[in-house]
């Protein structure tokens, strides 16, 4: 067999898989978004073409604006704190001291757990009457907070949970980046009398830039499509206070059975993700090829 034939033969299963399980759904999703696709469609096979009516209906729905704004807050809030705390911890655990490797490994645990598990645990922590968070507040004389039933507190609560989940990812990637910085630079800076903060600002931060870009972009692409955490903790409520684009698309399709509108929101999500995705690929191009 020639090398070319062998190359194609070995690649064939993957090619077919991608065509069937990505190509088909993407096209199908696009067609679905242009049709009046309801539960009946599954039985009758009839889904009349309606043009952009699904987009008009879904984007005009007041919940859409709310979900879009929530997605922005959720994403920005999560990433700023995940990254900040992850970076601080990466710097802290970068030094060699007794147990540093073991402790760092333990911190991976929140990231490895199924999101549904983390969500359930935090829902218990946020419980208004019996949750440990409100117990702590009462202990220091503050009033209990209705974390998950108040429209103002629910979003901060799910963001807090997601920050907790995302810290390990930022920690591991940034720690990898820190290790690649030659120690001799720090020694030279120390000889020149540079303090800790100065060394961070003039050595660590600039040399970490490429990794920083990748971590932030990946965080963005992952966080925009958040689903599990929100479904388990609040289900998008109360009164859509934690509805995001993904949970909105889900509820249109699988709750209201307006599959066409769900697909329309899905396509909006694809658009947003690919824009950030391309920015990521551009910034990561050198380390990928």
């Amino acid at each position: 067999m020639s090398r070319r034939a062998a190359a194609i033969a070995f690649l064939l299963p993957a090619l077919l898989y991608v065509l069937v399980f990505f190509g088909y759904p993407l096209v199908y999703n696009l067609l679905m978004s242009l049709r009046d696709f309801s539960v009946r469609s599954f039985y009758t096979g009839q889904a009349p073409f309606v043009g952009v009516a699904n987009y008009v209906a879904a984007l005009g729905n007041p919940v859409f604006a709310r979900a879009a704004l929530n997605t922005v807050w959720f994403t920005v809030g999560s990433i700023v704190f995940q990254f900040g705390i992850g970076l601080a911890l990466a710097v802290f655990f970068n030094g060699r001291f007794l147990g540093s490797a073991t402790l760092r490994a333990l911190l991976l645990l929140p990231w490895l757990l199924p999101l549904v598990v983390s969500g359930a645990v935090w829902r218990w922590i946020f419980d208004q009457d019996h949750g440990v968070l409100n117990t702590a507040l009462r202990l220091v004389g503050l009033p209990a907070i209705p974390w998950l039933t108040d429209t103002g507190w629910a979003l901060p609560a799910v963001i807090l949970t997601n920050i907790w989940i995302g810290i390990p990812f930022n920690l591991v990637l940034l720690h990898g980046g820190l290790r690649a910085i030659p120690g001799s630079l720090y020694e030279a800076a120390a000889l020149d009398g540079a303090g800790g903060w100065q060394r961070f600002r003039s050595i660590t931060w600039p040399l970490l830039r490429p990794v920083t870009g990748i971590v932030l972009m990946l965080g963005l692409v992952y966080t925009i499509k958040v689903f599990d955490v929100i479904m388990v903790i609040t289900g998008g409520g109360p009164a859509n206070a934690t509805q995001t684009l993904t949970t909105f698309s889900y509820s249109l399709s699988f709750h209201d059975f307006a599959f066409g509108q769900g697909a329309a929101i899905g396509n909006v999500l694809i658009l947003v993700s690919t824009v950030f995705g391309f920015v990521y690929l551009r910034s990561a191009r050198e380390s990928l090829t």
């Binding site: 190359a7 993957a14 690919t274 990928l288």
Partner: protein, 269 residues
């Protein structure tokens, strides 16, 4: 900072960040009634295994379903991804780079879009409430990742190695099976571990591609358990602990591969 002070601060950080997990364990070992007292008990004394008995009785089957789906996803992902990675890294067909780029792009497609259209597709194929259906759906997330991780590893295998085997008369398949796969063992384990972790944790596909009448992975089980109005936190937290066990085990026995996978998808060291 002196070494031992730093260790002390490090321990403190870990205790604070892992407190929610302790709280899960704590609640899983206390009688339901004790959890509803005005002030919580910080130690599960006296401990009870009632929660675990209930978890196994009501969620045991769901745990088994998740295990089957996760195992199936590992097999499907590796069977598809390993030869593809060999082709992309060593045989280098002209269309390869385009395919790699396509993989990077499809990785970013939000799961809800896949779920939306797979629901319609699987409805036609009779793959709703079906193990194969869930395995194939979960593989949409794990196959691209596995190909990229394996390819990144196999690119570094010297071409002379497989060419030497070819000179000795081994065909492409023989070369792949007896040279490339054994040499790539670490990357195969990494890809497998991540396929397992993803499929075990999957909630979106489990939620959309099952009806509640047939198979039910444990993530959906926990979701429904939590959603019950008479929330029984002892049983829920016990189920959560059981569902967390695979991650904990992998962290202990395969930590190297986990870290490699976390960074492998993003930065090359």
């Amino acid at each position: 900072m002196r070494g031992w002070i730093r260790t002390g601060v490090g321990v403190l950080i870990v205790l604070v960040l892992l407190f929610p997990l302790y709280w899960m364990l704590n609640a899983s070992l206390q009688p339901s009634g004790a959890l509803l007292r005005p002030t919580p008990e910080f130690l599960p004394l006296p401990a009870t295994l009632d929660g675990y008995r209930e978890a196994l009785a009501t969620q045991g089957g769901h745990l088994l379903s998740s295990l089957l789906v996760a195992g199936g996803t590992v097999v499907v992902s590796l069977v598809i991804a390993t030869p593809a990675a060999y082709s992309l890294a060593q045989l280098r067909w002209r269309g390869g780079p385009v395919f790699v780029f396509a993989l990077l792009i499809v990785q970013m497609i939000p799961g809800i879009v896949m779920a939306n259209s797979l629901y319609a597709l699987f409805g036609d194929l009779g793959l709703i409430d079906n193990y194969l259906g869930l395995v194939l759906a979960d593989s949409t997330a794990t196959v691209p990742f596995a190909i990229l991780v394996l390819r990144a590893f196999m690119v570094a295998i010297p071409r002379e190695l497989s060419e030497a085997a070819r000179v000795d008369g081994a065909g492409h398949w023989r070369t792949f099976v007896s040279i490339i796969v054994p040499v790539s063992r670490n990357a195969v384990v990494t890809a497998g571990v991540f396929a397992f972790l993803f499929a075990w944790a999957d909630f979106l596909f489990a939620m959309t591609l099952t009806t509640g009448q047939g198979i039910e992975p444990v993530t959906v089980g926990i979701y429904r358990f939590v959603g019950n109005q008479t929330a029984d936190w002892n049983g829920i937290m016990a189920t959560a602990v059981l569902a967390a066990i695979p991650a904990a085990i992998l962290l202990v026995v395969a930590q190297r591969y986990v870290v490699a996978g976390m960074t492998g998808g993003a930065v090359k060291e």
